[in-house]
Amino acid sequence: MPTEPEDPLEPYYYNHVPEIIGGIDVPSITEEWVENYPSVVDRFFTRYYYIKESPEPAPYQVLFHSNRVCLICLAPEHPAIKDGIKSFTFDIGNTDRSKNTVKGKGKKGGMVLQHDSTLAILTSEQNKAYKIPSCVQSKLVEVNTAWVEAPKQLETAGEGEGYVAIVLPKPEDCENIKRSLLTQAQYKEKWTAIQMNAAQKLANESNVAKTEQKSAQTEQKSAPVEKQNE
């Protein structure tokens, strides 16, 4: 007679031991489970974005903790993620951000950052250099040096895990900073527009190129027609 295959998890099942404290039957910890439990980022942070326009548009994400600590990250749509990341450095020429030190509760000695101060420089596989901006006027607390050693891992890092730096704005600056950044909805709209524009431009360029090509071809065939077109 075939027996049921033994459940390999059987020795591992949790057994709640009843406990009465202060007259209350303490509920099992497993009762705390909820459906659609929000992620760490969803629980404690608000997502903000900053798009650096030049030399070409690149989006960055600011994870604003409820205690005002900010994680500066690449936005998932950052072009370098798609292109692949070749190298990453905190040495931005005049300063090396990885030499940042902070002391005490007040984070004394942390580098002072403006929203457009460069935090780090990353180079894509297409040899495009991106100066990662601080996004937030703040004090530099911590940099994530993991990316210097293993820049490729930044491509697959989960939300938050890919943080480049941790910065701390002054309490009185927070409201202004939040206003100056894009919210999730604003970012979605703006980034879509930018991409549409870029696509449009690309299309135009290729149209122009095509037209030029075409006209070159037509020119070769019959020059007078082209003139008519103009």
Binding site: P8, L9, Y12, Y13, Y14, N15, E19, I21, G22, G23, I24, V26, I29, T30, E32, W33, V34, Y37, S39, V40, F44, H65, N67, R68, V69, L71, V102, K103, G104, K105, K107, V141, E142, N144, A146, G158, G160, E161, Y163, I166, L168
Partner: protein, 490 residues
């Protein structure tokens, strides 16, 4: 110098018998039996007549003593005891007292004046740097303190007694102090940029002896020998401060919506109650009137959303100015029952502890092992492989950066911490859920240990299994500290 000559001179200055004894260097129970001591040091004894009795005798002994301003007179003692008895001293249930009598500066100046007078009279027999008398402070201890203790039927207990603070004043105080200020600016001129020195008792003790200040200068400012005062000392106030009482226990936290201490954000309360407040409001009123002064200490703390189960977390209430220093076990159980009503916190083992034992609380916070149970969730169904990777009977080290959630108010550090053991189980009804029993060194942040906090805690439970894992709930199940001792309830 004969003792008789000394006493004769003091009598000539109208100094009372207690002060005469002080100048005879009486340092024990001589003050209780004056005659015996006078006999012993070969001084004629003449009984002082208590002038409060027969008005006919009033003439004979009517002056206030120029060196103690009546501090040791029968009349003063009677007043002192009266005013102590008029306080709410009966409210305090304690066996011991401490007496602190704060005397006016003018009284010290009068001791000095007598010192100069004795120098004039007896010259070399008098030391220039060490006072010729038993100090007032010491004499108070020898004369007044035993009297007070006897009347109140309490012992003198410096470490744990009820503190009686008695403030005295005298009509000549102002004048004496301003004279001394003038003298001080002559004797110790102020250097440029130096702050003017506050006239204080210790200043006189340190800087005023005939060795340091010449007789001429002193006599310019003060009468030598001290004149017969017109008034005696007056009572300003008597205040009582009870000893600090320490009440220990262990609390269990059953709610995931209760902060440790009052949680106030931008001047507004985030949660209406806290462990600290529940415990204080059910215990403190039995020991003191002002609950605001009570200090709540515990062996560490847990987050708002973390329960604390098992035997609970040790804590101590430091209750200053307590009117009780004992607690019956019946009453302790009653307090525990009252706390249970909250349904959020439950306390056991309430007991009075000694101050010296508080060290256990700190030790428990910093050194002891803590056991936790965490409810964790992963994205797919748990496998035996995952469970095996989380089964650690032996410990391992982790490096933990200060968590982001406290980084705004704590310094950034990377701390090594020991995880002593991990033991995983899986929920039968929901195989995405891992229940992890964790034993760690004190000071480990457990939530970050589980999800790894973006790689800021390494290794973490997430890195051990090589995939995302999140923590849904956490319980403290044991704090490895055998203090305070368990109280048996019958």
């Amino acid at each position: 110098m004969k003792n008789q000559d000394l006493v004769d001179y003091l009598k000539y200055c109208s100094v009372c018998q207690f002060c005469q004894l002080r100048y005879l260097k009486a340092r024990g129970n001589e003050y209780q039996n004056k005659q015996e001591y006078f006999d012993r040091v070969n001084v004629d004894y003449e009984e002082e007549i208590d002038w409060t009795g027969d008005p006919a005798n009033k003439k004979k002994r009517q002056n206030v003593c120029p060196t103690c301003l009546g501090l040791f007179s029968e009349e003063f003692k009677e007043q002192l005891l009266q005013s102590i008895e008029n306080t709410d001293i009966d409210k305090y249930e304690c066996d011991g007292i401490v007496v602190a009598i704060s005397i006016p500066i003018v009284l010290q100046l009068r001791q000095l004046s007598m010192w100069y007078a004795l120098l004039d009279k007896f010259g070399d027999n008098i030391n220039l740097d060490r006072a010729p008398d038993v100090s007032l402070k010491e004499a108070i201890k020898l004369i007044l303190n035993p009297t007070i203790c006897e009347r109140l039927n309490k012992s003198y207990d410096i470490s744990n007694g009820l503190m009686l603070t008695i403030n005295l004043s005298h009509s000549e105080e102002q004048e004496g102090v301003s004279q001394l200020e003038k003298l001080n600016s002559l004797v110790y001129p102020r250097k440029k940029g130096q702050k003017s020195e506050q006239i204080s008792r210790s200043l006189i003790e340190k800087k005023y002896t005939p060795l340091r200040v010449s007789s001429e200068l002193f006599k310019n400012a003060f009468v030598v020998p001290p004149s017969i005062p017109t008034e005696s000392l007056k009572f300003d106030s008597v205040s009582l401060i009870g000893p600090s009482t320490y009440v220990a226990g262990r609390y269990r936290k059953l709610s995931r919506k209760l902060s440790h201490t009052p949680w106030v954000l931008n001047g507004e309360r985030v949660m209406d109650d806290s462990i600290e407040e529940i415990i204080i409001r059910n215990i403190a009123h039995y020991f003191c009137d002002d609950q605001k002064k009570v200090n709540f200490m515990s062996s560490g703390r847990e987050d708002v959303d973390v329960r604390c189960l098992g035997a609970g977390r040790p804590f101590v209430l430091e209750i200053p100015n307590a009117f009780r220093s004992s607690l019956s076990s019946a009453l302790a159980r009653e307090m525990e029952e009252n706390i249970d009503v909250s349904q959020k916190v439950s306390v056991r083992d309430i007991q009075i502890v000694k101050r010296e034992e508080l060290i256990h609380i700190k030790m428990g916070e910093e050194q002891k092992r803590k056991c936790y149970r965490a409810l964790c969730q992963i994205g797919n169904i748990v496998t035996v492989d995952i469970l095996k990777r989380l089964d650690f009977q032996n410990g391992f080290e982790i490096q933990q950066k200060t968590p982001i959630r406290v980084l705004h108010r704590r310094p950034l550090h990377t701390r090594p911490r020991t995880v002593y053991s991990l033991k995983p189980s899986v929920c039968r009804q929901n195989k995405n859920l891992i229940i992890l029993d964790i034993v760690t060194q004190a000071g480990t942040y457990i939530k970050e240990l589980v999800h790894g906090e973006f790689g800021r805690t390494v290794p973490s439970v997430a890195s051990l299994i090589g995939q995302h894992i999140d923590i849904i709930a956490l319980d403290v199940v044991e704090i490895d500290l055998d203090w305070p001792p368990s109280v048996c309830t019958l």
